[in-house]
Symmetry: C2
Subunit: 134 residues, 2 copies
């Protein structure tokens, strides 16, 4: 199960990958397209979708699934991390820690190769915005 790309990327795929590499947060295909247009006017939305799918299959990108949100993607390389989703401002924050003893969750005889954790709640700036409302 190879994670590295086997073939060189097409020009458009390189553009799309660069967008994700430059972004500090996960992007929807639509958001990536809007960013890509600035670098490469004329690039088509379908091309971005194709690139995202291919880059994901190649292990370059990883999907980030948040409840009731459009799927987003981020670089699969770089430090392993999870996400905090603020229900109020809908922003996504990276969480750079992992809980211990995750292997204990895996049922007998199963083999885990990956895991994803999403924390839901309210971020600090949204908590600060509130006066006394509760």
């Amino acid at each position: 199960m190879s994670r590295s790309r086997q073939k060189s990327l097409t020009p458009r795929q390189q553009v799309v990958l660069a967008i994700f590499r430059q972004s500090s947060i996960p992007l929807t295909p639509q958001e990536a397209w809007e960013a890509a247009i600035r670098d490469s006017p004329g690039i088509g939305l379908a091309t971005v979708y194709r690139a995202v799918r291919i880059l994901t299959e190649a292990g370059e990108l990883r999907p980030v699934e948040i409840a009731d949100e459009i799927p987003r993607y981020e670089m699969a390389s770089g430090p392993h991390h999870h996400h905090f989703y603020c229900r109020k401002c809908t922003r996504i924050y990276e969480v750079h820690k992992c809980p211990p003893r995750l292997d204990d969750l895996v049922p007998q005889g199963f083999k885990m190769d990956d895991h994803s954790i999403v924390l839901y709640g309210t971020c600090r700036s949204c908590l600060g915005d509130r006066a006394t409302t509760d």
Copy 2:
């Protein structure tokens, strides 16, 4: 932020909720509709979608998001648990343990009210099916 339903459920909403209550696995709206038709012939797919959305907002149902899969829903009540997704047979298993020290992941000043964990890998029966392939 009340989680309990404030108004009584409509007949169709009760039907849909019963489907999820009887199911041992998360269901897509489509799957819930196919099950609901057996109990209540003539129920419309849109009605099931409406019920799922309302029941989710009312805290009766909870979305289960798996990478690259259609969103499923399950009862929000009952024992807290997570999910193991087998990439081979695409089945979803419940995981009835929680990792310790999850609060340590929450960034300073943030407030977490929920979390979701999905483990990815291969289930026991799929591992058993394989002979020596690796």
